[in-house]
Amino acid sequence: MTRCQNRLELTTGEGITFSYRLASPVTRALAAIIDFLVVAAGVSLLSALVIPFLALAPGVGTALYMLAAFFLSVTYPMVFEYTWRGQTIGKRLLRLRVIDQRGFRLLPSQVVIRNLLRPVDQLPVFYVTGGLCCLFSRYAQRLGDIAGATVVIIENPVKRPTMENILAGKFNSLRQDPLTMAKIRQTITMTEADLGLQALLRRDDVEPDARARLFAELASHFRERLNIPENPLEPVPDEQFIRNVLDVLFNVNDTIRQNLSGGGRKRS
């Protein structure tokens, strides 16, 4: 379990690594404001419901209203976070989710504790303690999150993969010209192809600046070897250019591609 650039990376026992994007205090504050408004609306609705009771039995009506409003404000985040798997209305609107710090399922006790500890996070006013704690803690946790062993993440929208999704926006200009494709396959040596391949395989392991420099050098080398000048009207990022070259070299299943793209533009 590590934190890297506001991400929580989890490695399973099987050695599989996956990551979550941690929510910033500002996004969380916005979600909290929405939730506050929801609770306020709920309390107003309650007061409207209690009015008939007030005429019949003023004392009992007021007491019921007070207890119901208190119960609503305390249990609203707990009930929603448990039934909606870590989301309240505010969190759902902002695509936030509370999860267990280790990626396990959120337990009811965790939901209860993270919400009961709000009083200390709210000290002295407006969640100042919780916000500061979020800023300085390793996994952007407020005190309630630390006690409940939870984190708040930003959810990416998940789409089922289809070929259309995968190929969308991956137009390979090099495939438009059969001569260029032939030239690539004739000119680029196995060593050069392997160099490009290794760079792509390991690109997540290097710092962003170094990665940009590496692919700039490789792209410059390949363009020189293939005599393909950079088109200033349709610039292709260096990394994408290397991918396109390797796609031409390694991906021989062109017929399927052509069929999928309706025989028009070929995509990689």
Binding site: I16, F18, G59, M66, L107, I166, E239, I256
Partner: protein
């Protein structure tokens, strides 16, 4: 590296869909328990999706596919590796009469620490009032307690049934329940100050109690004090002490003396106990609020002090018996808050 995505997706998607369907079914029914064959299949599909994710690692430009697989693997991981939960529906009665007193007994030392701090505060408050009666105004924040005990007793006994709370006992009860529950939540939350805040709150409550008790005893109003405090105090004060107990359990997990595991693991271990203790405290405070509003505020001649004292003593005895003996025989799986 995956070169042919068409082939990759065509061959693997059927497994991903199957895994997604299994996970959806498990999510829909929280208490569903897969049989052995289903569990094996789930594990196989999880490992297969994990392997696909690993194959995709060198091809991070396929962000959508990667996000999809990460989400799938993360969901499966949470289902397969979650061992803390027992898939048993939550039974409020089993929880209250079983899990709650068992949890109290499990952390008895924290309770006694809390009790000792409260008693120390009580002695301090009492001694302070005896040594310097002027200190009473500074120590007791409630105006109706700041006046002379004799004056208050005379006034309230004279008022009889037509007391100042006539017609608004329900509201008073709701206020008490709200206020006491807030105090107990704050007491629990102060465990995050490594128990320092808890010590201060419990000690301060002890000081107020001690000051009031000694003030009434010195004024010769011991019977009134017992008749007034015992009916609701016999539940309310232990409830606040139990909140302090939960707070100390939290503080101990944070400090971690003699526990060679990480803070996160220690907190994870005590979280169900904290939720159970606080849940029990809430039930106790609701009862105490009702008793204080509808019973404690009636004094002689409306309600004899002997009846009130007997009621309070009986209630305290029942509470002690409940916390000490209830839930000793476990006849069903533990119904703690973990099993909701």
């Amino acid at each position: 590296m995956i070169v042919d995505f068409k082939h990759f997706i065509d061959s693997e998607q059927v497994y991903w869909t199957e895994l997604e369907d299994m996970l959806d079914a498990l999510t829909a029914d929280k208490f569903a328990v897969p049989n052995l064959a289903q569990a094996r299949r789930l594990h196989y599909l999880y490992e297969r999706a994990g392997a696909d994710l690993a194959r995709l690692a060198g091809f991070s430009s396929e962000l959508d596919l990667r996000v999809y697989l990460e989400s799938l693997v993360a969901r499966a991981h949470s289902e397969i590796h979650e061992t803390r939960r027992q898939r048993v529906p939550f039974h409020p009665l089993n929880w209250f009469f079983g899990a709650f007193p068992r949890t109290f007994r499990k952390h008895l030392r924290a309770f006694f620490l809390c009790l000792a701090i409260c008693l120390a505060g009580g002695v301090f408050g009492g001694v302070a009032v005896m040594a310097d009666p002027e200190a009473k105004a500074a120590m007791i924040p409630f105006s109706h307690l700041a006046q002379s005990p004799n004056e208050r007793v005379a006034r309230e006994e004279e008022e009889g049934a037509a007391s100042r709370l006539a017609g608004r006992k329900s509201v008073f009860s709701a206020q008490l329940i709200q206020n006491n529950t807030r105090v107990s939540f704050l007491t629990l939350a102060l465990g995050m100050t490594y128990g320092i805040g808890t010590c201060i709150v419990i000690f301060y409550n002890g000081v107020i109690l001690g000051a009031v008790a000694f003030d009434y005893i010195l004024a010769g109003q011991t019977t009134f004090l017992a008749g007034w405090l015992l009916p609701h105090g016999s539940i309310e004060i232990p409830a606040i002490l139990l909140a302090g107990q939960a707070s100390f359990v939290l503080a101990r997990a944070l400090i971690g003396w003699g526990q060679p595991v990480s803070v996160a693991d220690r907190l994870r271990a005590v979280t169900p106990d904290l939720a159970t203790l606080v849940g029990g405290v809430c039930v106790m405070l609701i009862w105490a609020g009702l008793v204080e509003a509808f019973f404690s505020q009636y004094h002689e001649p409306v309600l004899p002090y002997a009846v009130k004292i007997l009621f309070g003593m009986g209630q305290l005895t029942a509470l002690i018996a409940f916390l000490v003996y209830s839930g000793r025989r476990v006849t069903s799986p533990d119904s703690s808050l973990e099993t909701v």
